[in-house]
């Protein structure tokens, strides 16, 4: 310190020198670039955040994909009561013996029939182990089932069809079944775009909200407010850093879904990228808005949940939002997650061009712009 002092002239001369100091190379560092870089580094150095953004959606897709995988449809389980008459297996007028009935039913690939005593059959029906009990009666059959159980109604139709055929009924028109279990029309195909949308919402809101509130809590925002940093740059850096992650987030889920479940992107990948980007910006804006006032993590968490909960429920992530009543539809359409999910489904499942999603994209852009501007206004720096 002592020898360094010698380099400097005394007060007055030094003051003049200070005023004339040259701009150094670092003067050209762009604050926006630096802010974005720092934000990105901070995120990547937070292992929990990386887990929630990248790993969690894949685990979720896996779990749901397994739960809703396309298995062979369940067989209708039918119990056939042993006939009261001792000879049992003989044809009695217009009916079949128990064993014959079972054989006839089991010929159909969608029925599993079993012969049992009437007490056992009654118990099996009660406990739901069988869906239907078939009992011979004078001149025909009796079906016992619970009509409030859809499986029982199905079993009744299927079993009846088999029995009628065995008794000689013929089809009056030729029918051809076309089965739709190929990729593109399964539940997982519906689910994946919704997961991408939900993930973009979650990582945008949580990622930004926590970071902002933590910086406020640690008085870092106050410190930044004491610099000549442009306040809009600070908020913009959050939006920009989202862009970097967005690529990884979406690519990770899309590639994963394609490799594991064969979910293909039918439309243009560029259109998918544009939609994801606009969606991410909407949620980055919303995240900043939610984080613009709270001072504590608890405070911001509550607000986040309040904002996201309706969208989890209404925006058609796990089932189509068309199921909600008509008077709710305008509200549901205006939610950013609905707009994003619909656009993602259009491009991934239907291969639709961007023009199909124009309205939804405008809704997203409006959310992004309005929330950013309002956040900038409301933002509490200390």
């Amino acid at each position: 310190m002592a020898e360094a002092g010698g380099e400097f002239a005394t007060t007055a001369a030094a003051a003049r020198e200070r005023g004339a100091r040259q701009t150094r190379p670092e003067g050209r560092l762009s604050p926006l670039v630096q802010l974005t870089l720092c934000r990105t580094r901070e995120f990547l150095r937070e292992p929990e955040a990386v887990f929630w953004v990248f790993i969690f959606p894949m685990l979720l897709a896996c779990a749901l994909g397994i739960a809703f995988r396309n298995t062979a449809p369940d067989k209708a389980r039918v119990a056939i009561e042993t006939s009261e008459s001792a000879a049992g297996s003989q044809r009695q007028g217009n009916t079949l013996g128990a064993d014959e009935t079972a054989r006839a039913l089991n010929q159909s690939s969608s029925v599993a029939a079993e012969v049992m005593t009437s007490e056992k059959a009654a118990q099996a029906l009660r406990t739901g182990r069988v869906d239907l009990v078939v009992r011979q009666s004078a001149g025909g059959f009796e079906y016992r089932f619970d009509p409030t159980r859809p499986e029982s109604r199905m079993a009744r139709l299927t079993a009846d069809d088999s029995i009628q055929r065995a008794m000689g009924r013929t089809d009056s028109v030729a029918i051809k079944d076309e089965r739709v279990t190929e990729p593109g029309a399964r539940y997982i195909d519906f689910l994946i775009p919704g997961l991408i949308g939900m993930n973009l919402m979650g990582s945008g809101m949580w990622g930004l909200g926590f970071a902002v509130v933590q910086a406020r809590n640690r008085k870092l925002l106050k410190r930044l407010a004491a610099t000549p940093m442009r306040r809009s740059h600070y908020l913009l850096s959050f939006m920009f850093s989202r862009l970097l992650f967005l690529v990884f987030e979406v690519v990770a889920v899309v590639v994963f879904a394609w490799l594991v479940f064969g979910v293909a992107v039918r439309g243009s990948v560029i259109n998918l990228a544009i939609i994801a980007l606009i969606g991410a910006m909407a949620f980055a804006g919303l995240g900043l808005l939610v984080a613009s006032r709270p001072k504590t993590i608890e405070g911001v968490s509550g607000l986040m949940n309040l904002v996201m909960l309706p969208m989890w429920l209404l925006s058609g992530t796990f089932f189509s939002s068309a199921r909600f009543p008509a008077f709710l539809q305008p509200l549901i359409r205006a939610l950013p997650l609905t707009a994003l999910n619909d656009s993602l489904r259009a491009v991934i499942n239907e291969g639709a061009p961007l023009s199909v999603s124009a309205t939804a994209l405008i809704i997203l852009i409006a959310w992004s712009g309005v929330s950013f501007m309002v956040a900038l206004r409301l933002f509490r720096w200390q």
Partner: protein
């Protein structure tokens, strides 16, 4: 402090202020939080190139004052002039380019490295030191790639000062820069502040360590309950006690303290718990007299210490409290 002394100090201030341009000036500054008056009508003038200290216990209103001057907290009343400008007059951006600020409570981002943090702050300013220079100034070269979260308290504080110095500011604000640091870390920080002063910069520093104010500050304002209760150079303030020495003693057996005031060379007597504290102008005359008085009162001396009067004693003599009592 004697009334005459305050006058003398103020006169000398007036003389100096005409020959110096003020870097910073405020008058009748007030700030209230609900029923607390954090700042109660403060007038200050910090001259170009000087290191000015706000010395006071916790809650005196130092941080509030400094943050008003930094343009972070709006005042309820009063005027502020920084480098000849006021806040909110359209020049805030230019003004901030010329100030370096370290806040009392800021925690920088743990996950960034020293270098990344300095580079970020550098990017906000159009002129200033290079990142390497400023890391060198605060002697953090070895830690440049270390995460902020892994730094010691002293290193964190030096980084905070580096972020304040990175623009090579005209005015440097430091709010309790050494609170909670060990003596060695404190010495290092003092070196940085002194170096900045030698390069011609103006510093406004708050502290509740009188050693720090004595060593670093050209002038000191002592604050208590939102008011400036004394102002002057550390030497002037200490002289105003008209005391060479402070004598502190404890005895077995009760002492009647009032009789000590009449002893030769004793200027003031204060009793706090069992410690009798005497402000003494002539230690040679006072010491025999007060030993005699102890014997006369039939008490038994347990301990006796003397020290040169300090700013702490100035504060104690004016408020009856210690600086660190809060």
């Amino acid at each position: 402090m004697r009334p005459g002394m305050i006058q003398a100090i103020e006169e000398s201030n007036d003389l100096n202020s005409t020959s110096n341009i003020a870097a910073l000036r405020c008058s009748k500054l007030t700030k209230r939080y609900n029923d607390v008056t954090a700042v109660d009508g403060i007038d200050l003038e910090v001259r170009n190139g000087e290191c000015f200290g706000l010395l006071g216990p916790n809650g005196a209103g130092k941080t509030t004052t400094v943050e008003i001057l930094e343009g972070l907290t709006p005042a309820d009343g009063g005027l502020v002039e920084i480098l000849g400008q006021s806040w909110g007059a359209g020049n805030d951006h230019m003004l901030r380019q010329r100030l370096g600020v370290q806040l009392q409570e800021t925690q920088l981002a743990d996950k960034l490295t020293v270098e990344e943090t300095v580079r970020l702050f550098r990017s906000f300013y159009t002129r200033g030191h290079s990142v390497d220079e400023v890391i060198g100034l605060v002697e953090l070269e070895e830690k440049r790639s270390a995460r902020v979260g892994k730094l010691s308290g002293g290193q964190k504080q030096r980084l905070a000062v580096a972020c304040a110095l990175v623009s090579d500011p005209d005015i440097l604000f430091l709010d309790e820069p050494t609170t909670g640091l060990d003596p060695q870390a404190r010495l290092k920080l003092w070196g940085i502040v002194e170096h900045f002063g030698k390069s011609g910069g103006t510093t406004l520093l708050t502290t509740h360590y009188m050693e720090e104010a004595t060593r670093l500050c050209d002038r000191v304002a002592i604050m208590d309950h939102g008011k400036v209760i004394a102002l002057g150079t550390p030497a002037e303030l200490i002289e105003s006690l008209e005391a060479d020495q402070i004598v502190e003693l404890t005895t077995r057996g009760e002492l009647e303290s009032s009789t000590f005031e009449r002893l030769a060379g004793v200027r003031a007597v204060r009793k706090k718990e069992s410690v009798l504290s005497l402000t003494v102008s002539d230690i040679g005359a006072a010491l025999p007299a007060l030993l005699g008085e102890i014997t006369r009162q039939k008490a038994e001396l347990v301990s006796l210490t003397t020290h040169q009067a300090t700013l702490e004693d100035v504060f104690v003599s004016m408020t009856g409290r210690m600086l660190r009592d809060g």
